[in-house]
Symmetry: C2
Subunit: 237 residues, 2 copies
């Protein structure tokens, strides 16, 4: 407890010293001290100063109001615990990939980072949950291998996009076949009554329908890549 915090509580009217000495120094009474104890304990439970002021303003000890607040607080904590677990899982996976010899290439790792962002943007939390469940089913090593393969495929395909490799080139056909094989393992349900889509297909749709009009640039890189994929698929029939 710092004296600065006491001054802050005074400023916002949460806890003012009951008396002042002749020279202006704050003199806290016993009641102030008890109020301070309550404030501190409620803060240690994670309530905001505003919420604390609310419950302490009630006529001496409204347990009903307190119960509502603490219940909400508990729910919030549980939600954060879930997020925290997911984050921990993700961090562990990334670190394992950095440490393993399978990811010595910084560029590939950066591509992975970009894909993480794309995933979080274009999939709903439910779909990501579904994907997470699929991941646990497939096992850690399998999914890590798939991720690495995917990042590699993205890099290779982008080279072909840049070089304008014709879509009937056997190398490209092979790459796209591997892309689809990989993607088919990660079907997710679309929103509402939509048909099941692969990850790539859903990214493509959302890319053209949502990102396109709302920002002045088209998401060129991904758009080009996915359009290229489409053309190759049409060639494949």
């Amino acid at each position: 407890m710092t004296v600065r915090a006491l001054r802050h509580y005074d400023e916002i009217g949460l806890l003012s010293a009951g008396e002042r000495t002749g020279s202006g120094h704050r003199r806290y009474t016993e009641d102030d001290l008890r109020r301070l104890y309550r404030v501190r304990s409620l803060r240690s439970l994670g309530l905001s100063l505003e919420e604390i002021a609310g419950v302490l303003a009630e006529p001496a000890g409204d347990l009903a109001a307190m119960r509502v607040l603490l219940t909400a607080q508990l729910r919030g904590l549980e939600a954060r615990a879930v997020q925290l677990q997911q984050l921990t899982r993700q961090l562990r996976g990334l670190l394992a990939r950095i440490d393993s010899a399978s990811m010595p290439d910084p560029d590939q790792f950066m591509t992975t980072l970009e894909m993480i962002s794309v995933f979080e943007t274009y999939f709903t939390p439910e779909q990501r949950e579904q994907l997470a469940q699929r991941r646990t089913e497939l096992g850690g090593t399998a999914i890590e291998a798939a991720r690495t393969e995917w990042a590699g495929l993205v890099e290779e395909l982008l080279c072909h996009v840049r070089d304008e490799t014709p879509v009937d080139d056997p190398r490209v056909r092979d790459l796209v076949a591997r892309w689809d094989t990989l993607g088919n393992r990660f079907h997710v349900d679309g929103q509402g009554g939509e048909r099941t889509k692969t990850a790539a297909r859903r990214m493509w749709d959302d890319n053209s329908e949502e990102i396109g009009p709302s920002l002045p640039w088209p998401a060129d890189r991904m758009r080009n890549l996915l359009a290229y994929l489409e053309r190759v698929r049409q060639q494949l029939g």
Copy 2:
């Protein structure tokens, strides 16, 4: 992603639009978009914008620096997970006590809140960890009963302090005996080479040695209570 966030990244120099139109509108290039994806994914991993600027400033993809950052992040998450669990336990305990019929009295609940604050102030985290371990050993219901009894004892004793009940009164002797019996179940080790102390004894010492001089008021309520306890104990011999 809001346009406001993009402007913020521009302001702090994390991500500026590569070009501007003649009228001053920001035009983001493909490279800007890739950088944005990296920024977003690193932020979703919990890194601060400053840290992100740091790793992205390195010559294209320094995996070693990234590894250090992500490892630190993981450690932080694990620490927060522990705190979060403790908080959840505490909140559940309090809510159970509000809901149970054993705590219908708002005043007693407020006293409990004050005691929480005192505990967190006067015990080191290690000691509180020790107490938590003791709690798990004793089981949930036993410890809840003890807490309720303790809050009741505090209230009753404070009445006697206020009324200046003589220390050889049988009612007071009985209360203090119960206090000590309760307290003896919660011995904690003192700091450094100190002898083992009971919770009450340690509170008393810290109360007079630390709180007293640093604040203009003595912690009257607790001091009076504990001094009274001491006097009764001396009477008991």
